[in-house]
Amino acid sequence: MNLQLSHFSAAVLFGLFASVIFGITQRSTSREQIRYGLYCFVMFVGGVFVAGWVMWVLRR
């Protein structure tokens, strides 16, 4: 099997998996776990966009 994801989809999937584990392990109650997991995911995806724009600026 040879799976070839784009850079963006690989980064988003990475953020999703890491966020699930961070949410479960870093908070105690279910509500806090969901909130923290979502927060981490937004930060991951936001970081991808910020890094993308930084690279676009550097390339110019």
Binding site: L3, Q4, L5, A10, F14, A18, I21, I24, T25, S28
Partner: protein
């Protein structure tokens, strides 16, 4: 001094129970199982699915599986990360997967997926231990 009252406190030692040894061990061997044997069903299944899928995606992307080595520090750390996946790593090595030549850019993502899946499982092992000693609900 403001903090002088806290310096004399002795750390409270946690009791060593069978569960505090078994849960991390089985959680390393089978990702998520450390939570499942403590009846944290949803957390356990989420961990099992997340770490398992991440590891398998890494293999599907032709990621490299590190072998035990004493060479470059990054190779050693790569092995430590991979080894965190426990049983998934053992099965992968037994089937001799993840040893192909890297032929495209996304294979490097695959290598990182494999390492991070193991590292995330280490965090889950620590979490299973904290649940076992009663530090976390």
């Amino acid at each position: 001094m403001a903090n002088s009252s806290t310096t004399n406190e002795t750390p409270v030692s946690q009791p060593v129970t069978a569960m505090s040894v078994i849960a991390p061990a089985i959680g390393w061997l089978i990702p998520g199982a450390g939570h499942l044997i403590q009846k944290r069903w949803i957390r356990g299944l989420l961990i099992m699915g997340t770490v398992g899928i991440m590891f398998m995606l890494g293999l599907a992307m032709q990621g490299r599986v590190y072998r035990p080595n004493g060479g470059d520090i990054l190779d050693i750390l790569g092995f430590v990360g991979d080894f965190g996946a426990g049983g998934l790593y053992i099965v992968t090595r037994a089937l001799d997967l993840g040893q192909g030549a890297i032929a495209h850019a996304t294979a490097d993502y695959g290598t990182k997926y494999l390492i991070v899946a193991g590292l995330l499982n280490f965090i889950c092992v620590a979490d299973a231990y904290h649940i076992a000693i009663g530090k976390k609900p």
